[in-house]
Structure formats: structure tokens, C-alpha cells
């Protein structure tokens, strides 16, 4: 504030001298003194009144203005309707880098779906809001899966445990971390006395070097103690098979890009298996077609129930999971004819083991002969992958075959495991722990993460055994089933809240960098174990730094540490794959012997049940995540529930139909009631059950959603098992699906063809979709600047749903709940249409088609809006002005693609405060009564344009990446400026298999599709 000038008292005007002008009696009585005083009024810093003598009562002018202003502001606040009830304080100093409105990305990594994945997390003013893949990280290559996308919502889950608690009779009494520390010290003290003889720690599987280091320190301190690992969905069978085949403790990493022929045996390598994001990218790269001359790989899938991988198959064989081993044996026998020992493989023992092996009943001859022929033809460029559920012996045989086919080192490599420990079976350790608990050998049980009371094999009755330990502690993000059975529950920090590190299957080591301080307190696994191990600096940060200091060496540590944090991967530490392996023929021979042909035939009273990770909830850990609950199962489109998936014929045979409640019973008599859902493509006499549902203490969203199938999952049928029977309960159960019609009704929608056909007729897609029959209604607009457009390659889409969740996260899309989904009011801006293709009702092919707003040039929605709430932007986007929308829903009616979403109810008002922290501040949260839809991520376009302008440069291709595009692991979505002839999207729309959806309407959609090309082996029938 500039200072005011002293007032200059001017002399009286000529002729006016005689007159006395006075302003007050004081002034008249003693004008000189008065003027002096008046002058003093404006002296800086003094308010001038002599009458206020007390120093304390004197008020500086500025203070007065300040207080008056503050009082005025308070009065103003008083008048506001929304009064902030919490005390807020401004930043006195701006935190480094934080600029309001500008997002920051931090590299981190998280353990997701059995493997770790490198991530970049977007934060706004310190709040993580959106997960992106880390392009520098080999497990991600810039993409993510749905689980990673949803992790950010788990962070803000309002039902996460907020306080430590002592638990008695399933009742929680909140306590403090001081109490926790006391408890941990007591455990440590007690254990110190006997070397931890009766101390057992149960952890989730870990790939963390720091964890391995801390575990070592822990075991060094308590030599008698044991650390057991249990994971309800584990890749240990693979590791075990690898160990059998080659005698190494390692993990496999695949290169699908190089594989010309892939045989997936009950393996969802594009979906739920470790490394699926990288696999999907590589697999798609191996079959990306720029022209009919390009080559593409061929994928054979043998599986019991549809997975993303099966849906992407060129040839798919429905086969019960228990017969997969026999199939592989028969295939090995066929391969044996053509294989030699040349590749250094000791193949003779293998050959003798499989000679005479017969394919399981119902497998067509061609599925052995033709597949074998092709694998032999593609030596060194083929790959046999086996799902983690399959027994180790099948893996061993598959690795042996891969070795014999010369694939090792080419399409698959092995990286030594983190701890170098000998592989054990997935149930060995939990069974051992259960035995010890039963025997009373465990005094203190510390459970670090996981929920064994729910997900341990049913036959162990683990929930009952927990009580056998005198002291039981559970570290968990939620007060879940296990927490109810322990004495002390401690909140576990989210991955985005704590320090850690991970090693991925393919060997990259990366740091898990926290994005935010723990919202509700909480500790990480390594911190707890370190505290127990008596490590003085037990906090995550020093622990992880110590690990990396040791790894990097002290000299260049700081620089390398910073670069590792910055990049999200410590490239210097990447573990090199094992150079060469030699086949342990005898062990493989033993393994082959373990693969026994099924003795009993499957039938209506002897059904096989398959337990698979849920595409949404995984093993139940995302059970309170509304995104994951609502994301439709990619094949059945069921939301908010799991179901028993059976084939149409089996359903007929069993006399069950959709919505029927059935009781599934295993040989031991355990039962589970679940709703039936008929899913074409399921192998006959098999049932697929998704894990993780039917939780009772998951939280407000997950409680009671779906059916808990863990009670059926015993050690005998951990991945799958036969001997199950089904009976109708007579009840019916409502199921909400997002898509009710599963056929394209002969319409050219998700267009596909075979490679052969494509080579004959490269522009078949355009040929199949009808030609434009109407002239534009209005004068066509010429777009001089940018012309945004999208191309979606249907060839690469695996139906993994990560784009849906990414879109939901980016655009604050509401979850609406089961009832509203049933009413057809889901809000997905981008939906994944799934059609069954082919005439065989029980064995169809799948066509996926992501459909968001097509941004039509002649948008039919725009014409009909009475209030101009939806209009075209100068760059050709079909924009929505939410403030203007009154919700006539006419646009929704007139949208031929039905991509517009209406807020039928107040879907956002009830969202808890914590979840609101996830909202993207650059996207309006829509109120009820307003229409919304895909905006081509207009906020990202604007952000990129602002950045380019600030950097005084032209916008480059790739500056704008929309949310679905970045999430897509297989890279099917291309977005960019169609006016830029060199942009990827402009090139994509020029491909001959380009077509647009419903072109005959003349609405001229901006989004293009690239027709799906399948590459089936013509020698194989079905």
C-alpha cells in the first residue's frame, strides 16, 4: 500500500483572508495546534491522537485496517451458506514444486496381481488422484491394468482401518500406536528369550529386496522363529516347475513379441497372471498389422473357462483344467517325433515319459497334430505358457518343451528369484503353519497383511486355528475377517503411503515411493518386521535407503538413488536373466509321471470347479472398491456379483438357468450357495468361480456383494478340482449386467475377419459396413487447427477393462450400485461391448469393442438439445456444458451409440469426503439431472495446449494422451490430431481395415475402429 501524502494546508484565497473557516470548535480555538495535530495524524505509524495515552491501547493504522478487514471478511463469511467448519491455515511457505492447479507425477511401484508394476501417480496439491503406467518401467511400458488404476481409490477407502485396536470377542477397542509399539516390544522381548521358538510370522508373498533383507535380520535375531508366506493366488507352481525342470530358483519372463506361435494352457497371461501388462503389450506388438503383408502371431488357448487370453485366442479349445496336463503330455508325445536333442536339451528321458500319451477325451486330433506341427515349425519363436493354477509338474513339462523347442533365451528367460530360496508349493507353508498352530507350537502369531481367515484353504480351518496362538497380531488395511480373530489389529499403510521396493518378474528393481503421508496412520510390512527384528532405524525410508545403499555402493549412492526415484526404476540394479540352463531330465521324467490322466469322467454329478482371480476384486483385496465392484466381468458383463459360470449345455443337463441359486458341493461335503450364470465358451461339466466376493466385513460397499466361494476351496481343489455336484436351492437371485444382448444380430458392428481373408480383401471392413446414404444436414465445418480423433484397434483389445477404470478415475465418473446398474443406469463413459461370434452357442469367439463418445461431425445429439448444452468445439469435440444442461435426455435418445450417460439420481452427493479426495480437480463433478459422456479427455487436451504455449512450441503428436489410451496395455487406442498428417492417429485411420461405426447414418463419427483380424489355423476345426 502506498503511503498517503500529507495534506497541504493552503493559504486562504485572495480576498478571503478575513473570513474564518473552521471545521470544529477545536480548530477555531487554536487553529495552529489543530493543524499540527492534523498533520501528525498522517505521520507514519502513529495514529496521532494524544488522548490515547496508554501504549497498549494505541493501535497502528495498519493494524486497524487489518482488523477491520478481517472483521469484514468474517462478517462476510458469516453470511455464507457453506461455512467451513474446520480450521484452515494458509501455506506460509509454498511447498516445493506444488503449484495449485498443476498436477505432478511421481514414479512409484506397487505390488499388484502377483507381480509388481511401475507406476506414475498423478497428484494434485499433494493428493494422489490418478495412476498411470511408468513408460520407463519394463513391467508397465506406460500402461496399467485395472487393479493398478483402482489402487488409488483403495487409498481413499472410507472404511479403511483408522486406528490400531485391541480386539476381544470380535469387538474392537481403538488404541494408539504407542500401545502397538508396547505390544511389539513385548513380543520381541518374549521372543528374545527363546530365540523366537514360538514366534511365527505370516506374510504375503513379496518381491522386495528390503523385505528379504529385513527378514534375514529378523531370522538372525530369532533363529528359531519362522516366516511363512501365503498368497491365495500365487505363482509358486510356476517357480516350482521351473525348479524341477532346470534346478534353478527363478521366475520366468516371457517375450510374446518374438513368439510367432503361442500355446497358452489354462494361462491368462494377458489378464491375471504376473506380468500381464507387459505381456499384453508384447503380445499385441507381435500381431500389429499395418498392412496385409505384415505377419501376426497365432495364439492357441486351452482353458476351461473364458479369460481375456481365451477371448484373444485365434484357436481356443475348451478343456477341463484337470485334463490340461494330459493334453500337454499328448502334445509332447506328438512333438517328440520331431524333436531332436540338438538344442542341448536332454530330451530322451522326456520322450520316453510321454510316449504313448493319449489326448483327453473330446480333444480333436487336429489340436495335437496341427499344434505340434506349428510349434516345430516355429522353433525358437514359439512359446508354451502354463497357468499358475496348474500343478508344478505341468509347468516342468512345459518348460522342458520350451527348452527343447529352443525357446529358452529367445521367447522366455529366467531371472533368479529375489531371495534365492528354494521354491515350495503354494500351500506348503500355510499347511506347515496350520500344523504348528494345531500342535500348539505357536505362541505368538504375527500376520502381516493378507486375510488368511478368509482365504486360506478351507480344509485347514485356519480361522479356528488362529485362536490357538496366545498372542495374535494382524496388520491389515481393513478390519477384516482375520482382524476379528486376533488380539491386536494394526492399520497397514497403503502402498501409496509407504516406502518399499519391488522386483518384478522380469528383473527390474524399483522403489515404492510414497505419494502421501499415511491418511490414517498405518505402518508397512517392512517397518513392522524391522521393529520386531530390533532394527534401530525401522522406518521405511531408512530401511529402503539402506538396501539401495548396499546395492549401489556408498560412492555414487545419492545420485543413483535420486535417479531411481525419478525414473521409477533402478536400471543399474536390474537383475540379468540366467544365461543358460540345462534340463534335469530325470526330474522332468518324474514330473511327467506325476501328470496322471483323469480316472473318472466328468459328468453332471462329477463336475470340475475352477477357482480364478476375479477381474475386479482379485482375491478379495479390492472388495470395498466401488470401481472394482461395478466394473463388469469382461465376458459375462455381471457387475456387483460373482456367479457360477457354466456352459449352456451343462446348464441344460443340470436343469439350471440364469438367476437360479444353486448349491455347489464338494466331495467333503462343503457347500456354497451361488447364483448361476450361463457363459458360452465354458468347458462342459466345469464351473468357474471367481474369488474374493461375498465378504462380510469388507466395508460399506463390499459387504454382502456376491458369494464367498472360499469355503469350497480346499487344498485338494486349490486351483481346480473335480468331484463337485450341484443342486438347485429353488431360490432366485437378481443379477445386474451391463449388457443383456450378446449377439451382433448380424449387424456390422465389431467387424472381424481372418488374416487370410484380410490378405485377399484388405478393405473388407469398409466393404462390410454400409455406405453413407445421406448428405450432411448442415454445411460442413472445416477444421483449420486441431482436429482430434481416435482410432481403436479391435485386433489388440483383450477386454481387460483397464481403460474403463482409467476413464472412471480420470473423469470422476460415478459408481451407481447394483440396483441402478440393473436399471441400466451405469455411468461408464467408455464401455466395453462384448459380442459372441460364431454359430456354435457353446464355443463362440469373442469380439470386444470399447465404445465411448464417437464425437460425430454431424452429431445427432447436438441438433436435438433444446438449450444448446452440447455443441461442437472448434477442434471438433462434441462438448458438454454441464451448467447449461437441463436434462431432457433427448440427446441420449438420439445417440445411435448410446454413449450418453444421465445422472438419474444424485450419484455424487453421498460420496464420502475421503473418496472425494480422489476427484480430478480438472473435471467437473456432475450433479443429478445432468447428461454426461466421454469428452475425449478435453482437460488433458487443454493442459497439453497450455504447456505447449508456455513452452512456446507447437503441440506435438503424443502430447495429448487420453486416459483410456495410457491405460491400455495392448496399445489399441490411438489419439491425436487428424489434421497432422504425421500423427499416429492420422496414419491409423488410413489403414485399410479402418471403418467407422454405423456410417450409414451420416453422423460421421470421429472415432475410427480398425477391424479385428484373427489368425486361426485352418487345419483346426472349432
Amino acid at each position: 500500500m502506498s503511503k498517503r501524502k500529507d495534506y497541504q494546508f493552503s493559504k486562504p484565497a485572495p480576498g478571503m483572508e478575513g473570513k474564518v473557516f473552521w471545521t470544529s470548535l477545536e480548530a477555531k480555538a487554536d487553529p495552529v495546534a489543530y493543524q499540527e495535530r492534523a498533520k501528525a495524524e498522517f505521520v507514519d505509524g502513529v495514529s496521532g491522537s494524544d488522548t490515547v495515552s496508554s501504549e497498549s491501547l494505541r493501535m497502528k493504522r495498519r493494524t486497524f485496517v487489518g482488523i477491520a478487514g478481517a472483521a469484514g471478511a468474517l462478517l462476510g463469511l458469516e453470511g455464507c451458506i457453506r461455512r467451513p467448519e474446520d480450521k484452515i491455515l494458509p501455506f506460509t511457505r509454498q511447498p516445493e514444486y506444488v503449484l495449485p492447479g498443476i498436477s505432478l507425477h511421481y514414479a512409484t511401484t506397487a505390488r499388484i496381481a502377483g507381480d509388481s508394476i511401475g507406476l506414475l501417480v498423478e497428484t494434485h496439491e499433494g493428493r494422489p488422484t490418478k495412476v498411470e503406467g511408468n513408460p520407463n518401467h519394463p513391467t508397465s511400458l506406460g500402461a496399467t491394468d485395472g487393479y493398478a488404476q483402482a489402487a488409488v481409490l483403495d487409498l481413499y477407502d472410507p472404511d479403511r482401518s483408522r486406528f490400531p485396536a485391541s480386539v476381544k470377542d470380535k469387538a474392537f477397542t481403538d488404541s494408539t500406536f504407542a500401545e502397538v509399539d508396547k505390544g511389539l516390544t513385548a513380543i520381541a522381548d518374549a521372543a528374545a528369550k527363546n530365540g523366537g521358538a514360538k514366534l511365527r510370522v505370516l506374510v504375503q508373498s513379496s518381491s522386495s529386496p528390503t523385505f528379504a533383507r529385513v527378514e534375514k535380520a529378523f531370522l538372525a535375531k530369532y533363529p528359531q522363529a519362522k516366516v511363512y508366506t501365503y498368497e491365495p493366488i500365487s505363482a509358486l507352481n510356476t517357480k516350482l516347475g521351473l525348479q524341477q525342470a532346470f534346478g534353478i530358483s527363478a521366475e520366468p519372463a516371457y517375450s510374446f513379441r518374438r513368439a510367432r506361435t503361442v500355446l497358452a494352457l489354462d494361462s491368462d497371461f494377458l489378464g491375471s497372471e504376473p506380468g500381464s501388462v507387459r505381456n499384453a503389450r508384447e503380445f499385441a506388438d507381435g500381431r500389429r498389422l499395418g498392412s496385409p503383408r505384415d505377419s501376426m502371431s497365432r495364439l492357441y488357448v486351452v482353458e476351461p473357462g473364458f479369460t481375456s487370453t481365451g477371448a484373444s485366442a485365434d484357436n481356443r479349445l475348451r478343456l477341463a483344467a484337470r485334463d490340461v496336463g494330459s493334453y500337454l503330455k499328448a502334445l509332447a508325445a506328438e512333438l517328440g517325433v520331431g524333436l531332436t536333442d540338438s538344442e542341448g536339451a536332454n530330451f530322451e528321458s522326456l520322450r520316453s515319459g510321454v510316449t504313448g500319451a493319449k489326448a483327453p477325451a473330446g480333444v480333436p486330433e487336429s489340436w495335437i497334430k496341427a499344434v505340434a506341427k506349428e510349434l516345430l515349425a516355429a522353433k525358437g519363436q514359439s512359446l508354451i505358457v502354463v497357468g499358475s493354477r496348474q500343478p508344478a509338474a505341468v509347468h516342468a513339462l512345459a518348460f522342458a518343451l520350451n527348452h527343447a523347442l529352443g525357446n529358452v533365451g529367445r521367447t522366455l528367460v529366467f531371472t533368479p528369484s529375489v531371495d534365492g530360496a528354494k521354491a515350495v508349493g503354494p500351500l506348503d507353508e500355510i499347511t506347515a503353519l496350520a500344523g504348528e498352530l494345531q500342535a500348539g507350537a505357536v505362541d505368538t502369531l504375527v500376520i502381516l497383511g493378507g486375510n488368511p481367515a478368509l482365504d486360506a484353504p478351507a480344509n485347514l480351518k485356519f480361522a479356528e486355528l488362529i485362536g490357538k496362538a496366545a498372542t495374535k497380531v494382524h496388520f491389515s488395511s481393513y478390519r477384516d475377517e482375520t482382524s476379528h480373530l486376533v488380539d491386536l489389529h494394526v492399520p497397514r499403510a497403503h502402498d501409496f503411503e509407504s516406502w518399499g521396493d519391488h522386483r518384478s518378474f522380469e528383473g527390474s528393481i524399483s522403489i515404492q515411493q510414497p505419494l502421501i503421508a499415511p491418511l490414517h496412520g498405518g505402518r508397512s510390512d517392512i517397518e513392522v518386521l524391522a521393529k520386531l527384528a530390533g532394527i534401530e532405524w525401522w522406518r521405511g525410508y531408512p530401511l529402503v535407503r539402506t538396501t539401495f545403499r548396499e546395492a549401489f555402493g556408498a560412492g555414487s549412492f545419492e545420485a543413483l538413488w535420486k535417479s531411481a526415484l525419478h525414473l521409477g526404476v533402478a536400471r543399474e540394479l536390474t537383475v540379468a536373466p540366467i544365461g543358460s540352463v540345462s534340463l534335469d531330465g530325470a526330474a522332468v521324467g518324474d514330473a511327467i509321471k506325476q501328470i496322471a490322466d483323469a480316472k473318472t469322467a466328468l459328468g453332471a454329478s462329477n463336475l470340475e470347479v475352477n477357482f480364478v482371480p476375479d477381474p475386479g476384486l482379485y482375491d478379495g483385496r479390492h472388495a470395498n472398491n466401488p470401481w472394482m465392484l461395478e466394473v463388469p466381468h469382461p465376458l459375462s458383463c455381471v457387475t456387483w456379483d460373482n456367479a457360477a459360470y457354466v456352459s449352456p449345455n451343462t446348464a441344460k443337463e443340470l436343469g439350471i438357468a440364469n438367476y437360479d441359486l444353486i448349491t455347489v458341493k464338494d466331495a467333503s461335503g462343503a457347500t456354497v450357495d451361488i447364483v448361476t450364470w450361463v457363459l458360452p465358451g465354458q468347458a462342459e461339466h466345469t464351473i468357474t468361480l471367481n474369488l474374493g466376493w461375498g465378504r462380510t466385513v469388507a466395508g460399506r460397499y463390499g459387504n454382502g456383494a456376491g458369494f464367498n466361494v472360499y469355503p469350497l476351496r480346499s487344498a485338494a481343489a486349490f486351483g481346480f478340482g473335480d468331484g463337485f455336484s450341484v443342486s438347485k436351492t429353488g431360490g432366485r437371485y437378481p443379477v445386474s449386467v451391463t449388457q443383456e444382448t450378446h449377439s451382433m444380430e448380424g449387424r456390422p458392428i465389431a467387424i472381424d475377419t481372418t488374416l487370410e481373408e484380410y490378405r485377399k480383401n484388405p478393405d473388407f471392413a469398409e466393404f462390410r459396413s454400409p455406405t453413407l446414404s445421406t448428405l450432411p444436414l448442415w454445411q460442413e465445418v472445416e477444421y483449420k487447427g486441431h482436429r482430434w480423433g481416435m482410432a481403436i484397434d479391435l485386433s489388440a483389445c483383450t477386454g481387460c477393462n483397464s481403460c474403463l477404470i482409467a476413464c472412471q478415475a480420470e473423469n470422476n465418473v460415478a459408481s451407481v450400485g447394483k440396483e441402478q446398474v440393473a436399471r441400466g443406469r451405469d455411468m461408464f463413459w467408455l464401455r466395453l461391448d462384448r459380442y459372441f461370434v460364431g454359430t456354435d452357442e457353446s464355443n463362440p469367439q469373442i469380439a470386444f469393442q470399447p465404445v465411448g463418445c464417437q464425437h460425430c461431425e454431424e452429431a445427432p445429439c447436438e441438433n436435438v438439445c433444446p438449450v444448446n448444452a452440447t455443441a461442437h468445439s472448434p477442434e471438433g469435440l462434441n462438448d458438454m456444458a454441464y451448467n447449461r444442461c437441463i436434462g431432457t435426455r433427448y440427446c441420449m435418445n438420439n445417440c445411435p451409440y448410446k454413449v450418453r450417460r444421465f445422472n438419474f439420481l444424485d450419484f455424487t452427493g453421498q460420496v464420502p469426503e475421503t473418496r472425494r479426495m480422489q476427484y480430478n480437480p480438472n473435471v467437473s463433478v456432475r450433479m443429478r439431472g445432468v447428461m454426461e459422456k466421454c469428452s475425449y479427455c478435453v482437460q488433458r487436451i487443454q493442459e497439453a495446449k497450455i504447456t505447449a504455449r508456455r513452452e512456446q512450441r507447437q503441440l506435438r503428436d503424443g502430447d495429448v494422451k487420453v486416459a483410456c489410451q495410457t491405460a491400455c496395455a495392448s496399445g489399441c487406442i490411438t489419439f491425436g490430431d487428424l489434421n497432422d498428417p504425421n500423427s499416429k492417429v492420422a496414419k491409423a485411420v488410413k489403414l485399410d481395415r479402418q471403418y467407422s461405426l454405423l456410417p450409414d447414418l451420416g453422423v460421421q463419427p470421429r472415432t475410427s475402429f480398425l477391424a479385428k483380424i484373427r489368425n486361426p489355423n485352418p487345419e483346426i476345426q472349432g
Partner: protein, 474 residues
């Protein structure tokens, strides 16, 4: 009357019984408003008012909670709301048609029913106007549809048929209201003159606009009436044509059809006559107006229903034909789906009610039977509701991409609002027949033989101004 009946002599039928006099007409009609309401009136009025109250509650709940309280969903964004809107607008058509078009065509039999039909039009349009208002998601912003200058500088989208609708329906409402009120003025004056207490005298006096029945008054009145009739006539065609544009200009198969404007107008007249018939038959019996509204009138109305019903049936058939002839798969599918899909029952209810039931009127015996025509008129009311339901819901629920197909089922709020709108309609109607001359006395008097200049007794009346309305164009 004398044996030399001039009406008979020129080969025409009497529109009213021979003994009808100007006084008996005045007495018959005015009596209803002057005597105590019969018990039946109270029963109907109170139950209708209760339903109207239900409408208020349902709308309040809707406004508070959102459109989600209805069954509307993603493929079926419009359902009962617009069905009801179009249904009510359709019903509102008979009024204008009877008043204006038949007036211009000198169909004098209309005089007995026109007031009634006009009132029904006004009330039906009021009911119809509720729906566009409440069906929007943010009804507090519904005024955005009006061209009000605003600081945002945004006008309504004049390309949108919904805006055309706003203008068409409002115009129709205003013109119908003026037309109705103009016709009421001489009758209000009659009621005023007969009034025995001050309140009646004042109130009817205000509405009578100082009518004294002078020659000049009659002249101006007739001019105004004629002009309004001429303005209204195109509206009969335009309103429902514009309403049909809501559908016809869209891209949806089953909606995108050029046949819609004439088809909708025919349907509207059809449903309007049916509703007039239903109400007329009830009031005629309850208030003993058989002499003024006689079988002749009813039969003529039935003939119109037969005609329009057959037109509508033709349109139904033509839709199928064109769908097939166009070779457009989507179009074919929509129509096959209408007849055989999940809503087949709605389609066949529509066909039964709208196409088959009016065919009974080919028989003279049936079209002059009061019970038959009552039942058929109810059938047509139902059938025409189903017609709109079929057009809206079955077209939307399965459109282009099978992935987005869905179904629709109404909720309790949908049903309450529909029943409530009927309640509102009958509440207004009950108030109308209780407090207003429900038959246009002045006009009916105009069709009495002694209103004609060459009537046998013309000599006696010579020198007096005609007691009632002469032929409109003089």
C-alpha cells in the same frame, strides 16, 4: 310445431328435438351451475382431487430425488413421461377440431359438444404441459428452453424439435384458451343475468366482460370467433405435427419416419374424440342433457372415430411396409420387434384397441348403442396411450447397437404421476361443469329453427335482434 316443418322440407334432420326452445336450453344448462351439486359430483370431484394431490406429492418427490425415481434408463431415456405428454396433447386435439374446423365447415351439430370439447382441450393441454416441465433432470432450469435474453448470451437451440414443441404447444394452449373464453362470454352474461346473489353476479359479471347482447357486441364477437377459428385450424394440424417431429427428425429407427405428422394428427383427433365421447356420455347421463346431446351427435362422432381409427390403422400398416420396402435392417428389426419382441403385448393392445375396436362402428346398430360406444371410447383412450408407449419405448429399447439394448418397466412414481394427471384433469373438469355453462347455450340456440331468418315465425320476431348466433359467415 306445424306440419310444414321447414327443416324437414329441405330434407335435413333436426339437430335438436322439436320442442326445444331458447328458454329450455338456458334452463337446462344454467341449472347445473345454479342448483346444489349432486352427490355424484362430489364423489367424482373428491376422488379426482385426491388423485391430483397424489400428482403433487409424486412431483414433489420427483423434484427432490431425481428422474431416477422413474423407470427411465439408458436406452429408454423417455418413457411414460413423454408417452403421457403426447397422449394428453392428442386428447387436446378434439377441442380445436370440433370448435374451429367444424365451425368453419358449418357443421352445426358441433354446437352441442364444442364447449365441452374445448374445455377438455384446455385441461388436457394443462396436463400435457406438466410433462415437458417435470421430465427434465433439472426442472428448476427448465426455463432455459424459453428465449429469455440472458447474461450468458445463449439462446435456445432453434434446431431442436423440443424448442419447436415448446412454441407449438404454448401457442396451441393460448389460442385454445382465447377461443374457449371468447365463446364463453355470451353464456357468462346469461349466467350473470340469471344470478340471484351478489357474488355470482359479480364474478360472472367480470367474466362476461360487460356483454349486453347488442348488435355491435354480436358483430364483434362473431368476427373474433371466426378469426380465432381460422387461427386455430392450422394449429390442429401443426401442434401434433410438431410433436411428431420430436420423433420424426431423430435418427432412431421407428422414429425417423416421414409418415409421422399426418399419422400423429389422425391419432390425435382419434383420441380426442374418444375422450370427448367418454366424458360426454357420462355428463349427458348425470346431468340429463340427452336432449341437447342426442344420438345424432354421438353417431357423427363415432363416424369420425371410425375414419380416424382406420387412418391410424393404415399408418400402422404403412410403417411396416415402408420398413420392409426401405431394406433398412434396423428399421425392419424395430417393427418386427414391436410386434414380436418383449413388448408384443403393448403392440397388440394398441392394434386391438385402435384398429379393431372402431371397426364395430361400421354397423349402424353398434354405433348408435350407448354402451358399445362407451366401451369403444375407453378402448381407444387406452389404445392411443399404448400407441405412444409403443412408439417411444419399443423404438428406444432396441436400437442400433445390441450391446446397449435394455428394457423398461415403470415405477410407482411413474404410475402415480399418470394417475395424478388424470386426477388433475378430472378435477379441473368437475370444476368446469359445476361453475361454467358446459354447453354453449348461445350457439345451440343458433341452430334452433327459430334462429333462422326464414323461420315460419320470423314475422313475429321481425325487428328484433336474433336471439342467438346466426350462421357464422352471415
Amino acid at each position: 310445431m306445424s306440419d310444414l316443418d321447414p327443416i324437414k322440407a329441405i330434407g335435413e334432420e333436426r339437430l335438436l328435438p322439436a320442442e326445444t326452445t331458447t328458454k329450455s336450453i338456458t334452463d337446462m344448462v344454467s341449472r347445473v351451475t345454479e342448483t346444489k351439486a349432486p352427490l355424484g359430483w362430489w364423489i367424482v370431484f373428491l376422488s379426482a382431487a385426491a388423485c391430483a394431490g397424489l400428482l403433487g406429492i409424486a412431483i414433489g418427490y420427483l423434484a427432490w430425488t431425481g428422474i431416477g425415481t422413474w423407470g427411465n434408463n439408458s436406452p429408454v431415456a423417455w418413457a411414460w413421461d413423454i408417452t403421457n405428454f403426447v397422449w394428453w396433447i392428442g386428447i387436446g386435439h378434439a377441442g380445436t377440431l370440433i370448435s374451429a374446423v367444424l365451425f368453419l365447415f358449418r357443421q352445426k351439430w358441433r354446437t352441442s359438444i364444442n364447449r365441452f370439447a374445448e374445455a377438455m382441450t384446455i385441461f388436457a393441454v394443462i396436463c400435457a404441459l406438466i410433462f415437458p416441465g417435470i421430465h427434465v433432470g433439472r426442472l428448476w432450469h427448465a426455463y432455459y428452453m424459453l428465449p429469455i435474453p440472458n447474461q450468458m448470451g445463449i439462446w435456445p437451440n432453434f434446431k431442436s424439435p423440443l424448442i419447436w414443441d415448446v412454441f407449438a404447444v404454448n401457442t396451441y394452449f393460448l389460442v385454445s384458451l382465447l377461443f374457449w373464453f371468447t365463446g364463453l362470454i355470451p353464456d357468462f352474461a346469461t349466467l350473470r343475468d340469471r344470478a340471484t346473489n351478489k357474488v355470482r353476479k359479480t364474478v360472472y359479471g367480470v367474466f362476461a366482460f360487460g356483454w349486453r347482447g347488442s348488435n355491435r357486441h354480436w358483430r364483434n364477437y362473431e368476427r373474433a370467433y371466426l378469426i380465432l377459428a381460422a387461427i386455430s385450424t392450422p394449429l390442429v394440424l401443426s401442434v401434433h405435427s410438431v410433436v411428431s417431429f420430436d420423433f420424426a427428425t431423430s435418427v432412431m429407427p421407428g422414429w425417423h419416419t416421414t409418415i409421422f405428422p399426418p399419422y400423429f394428427v389422425a391419432g390425435a383427433v382419434f383420441s380426442g374424440f374418444a375422450m370427448v365421447m367418454t366424458l360426454l356420455l357420462i355428463c349427458r347421463t348425470v346431468f340429463g342433457l340427452q336432449k341437447l346431446v342426442n344420438m345424432n351427435h354421438l353417431e357423427l362422432m363415432n363416424k369420425i372415430m371410425l375414419t380416424t381409427g382406420t387412418l391410424v390403422g393404415y399408418a400402422y400398416a404403412m410403417e411396416f411396409f415402408i420398413a420392409w420396402y426401405s431394406g433398412n435392417d434396423y428399421e425392419v428389426y424395430v417393427f418386427v420387434n414391436r410386434a414380436t419382441g418383449p413388448y408384443w403385448w403393448a403392440y397388440w393392445s394398441m392394434i386391438t384397441c385402435n384398429v379393431i375396436s372402431p371397426q364395430l362402428f361400421w354397423s349402424k346398430k353398434l354405433r348408435t348403442s350407448i354402451p358399445v360406444m362407451f366401451v369403444v371410447s375407453i378402448f381407444i383412450n387406452i389404445g392411443m396411450w399404448f400407441e405412444r408407449f409403443v412408439i417411444i419405448v419399443t423404438s428406444l429399447h432396441r436400437d442400433f447397437l445390441p450391446s446397449s439394448w435394455g428394457n423398461y418397466s415403470p415405477t410407482i412414481v411413474d404410475i402415480s404421476i399418470y394417475i395424478g394427471s388424470l386426477g388433475l384433469f378430472f378435477t379441473l373438469f368437475m370444476l368446469f361443469i359445476r361453475w361454467m355453462p358446459m354447453i354453449a347455450m348461445a350457439e345451440v340456440k343458433g341452430v334452433l329453427p327459430n334462429a333462422q331468418p326464414h323461420h315460419a315465425h320470423a314475422d313475429e320476431d321481425h325487428g328484433h335482434a336474433p336471439a342467438a348466433l346466426p350462421s357464422p359467415a352471415e
